[in-house]
Symmetry: C2
């Protein structure tokens, strides 16, 4: 990118910070934007800022939300007695797309990972336990990823929730071990919801 | 992306317009930006707008430029008697990075492609011929791509420039340095045999 004018170089550098985007791809994207219409470029820039400005976390389940409560928490047709616990909003989206769940969610925003300095205090676990304690919850479905960190998180939540006398289930291993919910097809996800078992 | 809030969906849609970015990748980029710092997101958005606002075409060679004349055209150490003709600014950058040329450029912004409706009038050919006629140019090096469109463009420029009595050359076609004959297509091999030179 040595030869490009400074404003182009700067955009290449910023695009290069995105995951999976190296310098070659960033250069291709930047030169595409350069050739694109003024309107397209403005919309892209505005959407970035608009999303950052408008998206916050639901005060109930910590899902990404435009308002204080997310769409799912405000939907009166959802069964509030069943809470599905996920690591990230992406997992929630994946489960929603599988169409296999009509309860509500709780997003932890991570999984236990002592090596990366992520302990229980860095996840939304306190808020979750308070929620379970106050809301006559009948079942907690743990849908953390089937990874070491996800399983450790599942064990911790299981222990805490069992103490409250609430039934705990774990999504079935039908999701490939070591995989990520984001990249699992909806059939597999639906099966893993259907075959959830007591732990 | 059904489940994402509207501002996220909109960004995913805009990112999906970029080349080589499908819905999955766009979603991954958008959720990354969502997690990124406010500063990083603002810089990205600003760089997009800044680049669109500040980059225009050099009035001499039609290279991308911040001012009326590009860096190469304002560089007094470059040899103005030799003009290298390229299809796109990317080609210019590639040649600059090879460090093999000290003359100046002319960017056509495309190549002849009748099927796509690109004729001579859509390229910067008139401007180029005027420039050659007015500036005591000694050599024109045609560095359009070695594709059907690039070769057609090269033939046209060759014809026009020859009429002005100026020497015209074409970059050599052959086996890429570091390449392997086994994996070189037969057209390239045929060219590299045809254009073999004494050593």
């Amino acid at each position: 990118m040595t030869g490009y004018a400074l404003p182009i170089k700067r955009l290449i550098k910023e695009l290069g910070k995105l995951p999976g985007i190296g310098e070659k791809t960033a250069t291709r994207l930047a030169t595409h934007i350069l050739r694109a219409s003024e309107d397209d470029a403005r919309r892209l820039a505005e959407c970035v800022m608009d999303m950052k400005a408008r998206i916050r976390l639901c005060s109930v389940c910590f899902n990404l939300s435009e308002g204080d409560h997310c769409e799912i928490c405000t939907d009166t047709s959802r069964d509030r007695k069943v809470i599905c616990v996920v690591e990230e909003p992406d997992s929630l989206i994946a489960i929603e797309e599988s169409g296999s769940f009509r309860g509500v969610y709780h997003v932890l925003h991570g999984a236990l990972s002592p090596l990366d300095g992520v302990g229980p205090e860095n996840l939304r676990i306190q808020e979750f336990l308070r929620r379970v304690g106050e809301n006559n919850v009948e079942e907690v479905i743990i849908a953390t990823n089937p990874s070491v960190q996800g399983e450790a998180t599942a064990l911790l939540i299981n222990k805490c929730v069992k103490d409250l006398g609430v039934k705990v289930t774990r999504i079935a291993l039908g999701v490939p071990v070591g995989g990520d919910l984001r990249y699992t097809d909806r059939m597999t996800l639906a099966k893993s919801m259907e075959f959830r078992r007591g732990i």
